[in-house]
Amino acid sequence: MIDVRDLAVTYPGTAHRALAGITLSARRGEVTAVVGPNGSGKSTLVRALLGRVPVQAGSISIDAKPLAEWKPLERARRLAVIPQREESAFSLTVREYVGLSRYVHRSSWMGERPEDRTAVQAALQAAGVAELADRRTDAVSGGEWQRARIARALAQATDALVLDEPTTFLDIAHEMAVFELLHDLALGGKAILLVSHQLNLVARFAHRMVLLHEGHVIASGSVGDVMQAAVLERVYAWPVVITRDPAVGAPTLVPLRSGRVRSPGK
């Protein structure tokens, strides 16, 4: 439902292209993961989906309609985005914070309807923050805050969900819970576009992967297509081996010590 074609972005005042013509898509029913080193253009892609970077060439469309032709509120009913960083300047209860995303479904003076309350409660539960609902956003931990943000995006009730590194600050249990949640949401019919540094978890949960490097798509396709040692070693400029996850058999990346460079695949 999200289609990006030959997208090129250059920030004003800089010479190099943050995105140099990338093509990818995120389909309903799938988790599409975008990976790549720092500065590879992942967050620029996310901001482009919000219409917040100058697009030089190429196109983005949502449900086959160009992004620019969507009214912002209508777009927000299809596509929820959790940006990488967000400080809440003023504290609210977690429930109120999550409820802010119902803004896109209500007119300015419409009160809270039963369906709004239901959506907020369901989102709180899905993201595992229901018991924090009455805590204030300045009194929750970093991990709880990340999950509250996911709950906010869920309460927006969109078909597409874009998350920029949603598991930063989360411990193993909460990180796994987020990946399982995203997987379930995809199976439930949503299109999930996930930007993440967690290659091994992505390899277990994503249906398709896109590897970005310096604004280019280096590899894309199935997890097996992208989790190739030769490619990842070049992109991340670090020696790695790809092995199999002993528990579930998914491709798993193991970074080596830099002194012991081995050529991969031998």
């Binding site: 917040r52 009913r77 940006p83 400080e87 803004y103 300015s108």
Partner: protein, 324 residues
């Protein structure tokens, strides 16, 4: 706390409004206030209450509510609890506009208000331009610093203007700079209310957008709010509010800074209730400040701006130690 906030705020405002009618250089009994307002009696007390104190109280309510709501909106849009129309140079710009108009011989209050508004918008434009020059339009520290610079520049402009101005204009200008409700009349109320009430209503109307903007520009965009356009609109309405208060009462600092911080937590944190609570609390605070200004050295009046600064500066320091 949240349960009692509305009755408390309304009761405090009502009590202070009555106190504002009773106390001053000449105390008037509650019974006389009643007779003056309800029966319209023609005694001295009646005239004092109806023609001097009542417009003063109404103007204090409008100005206090306007400043506090302007501060609430600016803090929300800039995502910083230390923003206010005074610190951002909006008020300084309004003062320049008003003083220039007075110095040029303009006497009609609506025209002075218009000049004040033009000055406030000029100051906002200058602050945003300075911040853009610093390539940090979104950085609140840069905005506040730019506001201080524009405010200092505005102050200098006022002083240069006053050097060649006639003595009357100098006195009038000093009055702007220090803030006062001493010459409040019904005429002031009639032209201030049509500026302040719609602007305040607009801010409340946009309250939910301010909630979303306070999340940050990217998050606002993901909720379908065009952050730049919405912020500009709210900035303009907040500036209009601040400008109208400056023309009505001169420079009254710190109300826009303190009040939002006092009411935000008890009101829950969302901007619609916070704006409404700030309006009530700001009106009450300004009634208190004005009562202090006219009674503490009666029959002399001390400047209103001085009273609010004496209350506001210690608050500011306390806030810096324990930010929200």
């Amino acid at each position: 706390m949240q349960r009692y906030i509305w009755p408390t705020l309304i009761a405090a405002l009502a009590a202070l409004a009555v106190a504002g009618l009773m106390f001053g250089s000449v105390p008037v009994s509650l019974a006389s206030v009643w007779r003056a307002l309800v029966e319209g009696d023609a005694s001295t007390d009646g005239v004092i209450v109806r023609l001097i104190r009542a417009p003063r109280v109404v103007l204090a309510i409008l100005v206090g509510a306007g400043l506090a709501m302007s501060g609430t909106a600016l803090q929300g849009v800039l995502r910083n609890a230390l923003a206010d129309p005074y610190l951002l140079g909006v008020s300084g710009g309004a003062a320049v506009g008003a003083v220039l108009a007075v110095a040029l011989g303009v006497l009609a209050p609506p025209l002075i208000a218009l000049a004040g508004f033009a000055g406030a918008i000029g100051a906002v434009a200058a602050v945003l331009a300075v911040a853009r020059l610093a390539r940090a339009a979104a950085d609140v520290r840069v905005l506040v610093l730019a506001g201080l610079l524009v405010g200092a520049f505005a102050n200098a402009l006022v002083m240069v203007t006053l050097v060649t101005a006639p003595a009357d204009a100098v006195r009038g200008a000093l009055w702007w700079m220090m803030g006062s409700l001493g010459s409040a009349s019904w005429r002031d109320v009639w032209w201030t209310a049509p500026l302040i009430l719609p602007a305040a209503g607009l801010l409340i109307h946009w309250g939910r957008q301010i909630d979303v903007l306070a999340l940050g520009d990217d998050a606002a965009a993901s909720l379908g709010v065009n952050a730049d356009r919405a912020a500009r609109r709210i900035f303009l309405a907040a500036s209009l509010l601040a400008a109208a208060t400056v023309v009505a009462a001169g420079l009254v600092g710190f109300v826009g800074l303190i009040v939002p911080n006092l009411v935000r937590r008890p009101a829950g944190g969302r901007h619609r209730p916070t704006l409404a609570a700030a309006g009530l609390a700001g009106a009450t605070l300004l009634l208190i400040a004005d009562l202090v200004a006219r009674t503490i050295r009666a029959p002399l009046e001390i400047p209103l701006g001085a009273v609010t600064a004496l209350m506001g500066v210690p608050f500011f320091f306390a806030r810096m130690r324990s930010p929200t």
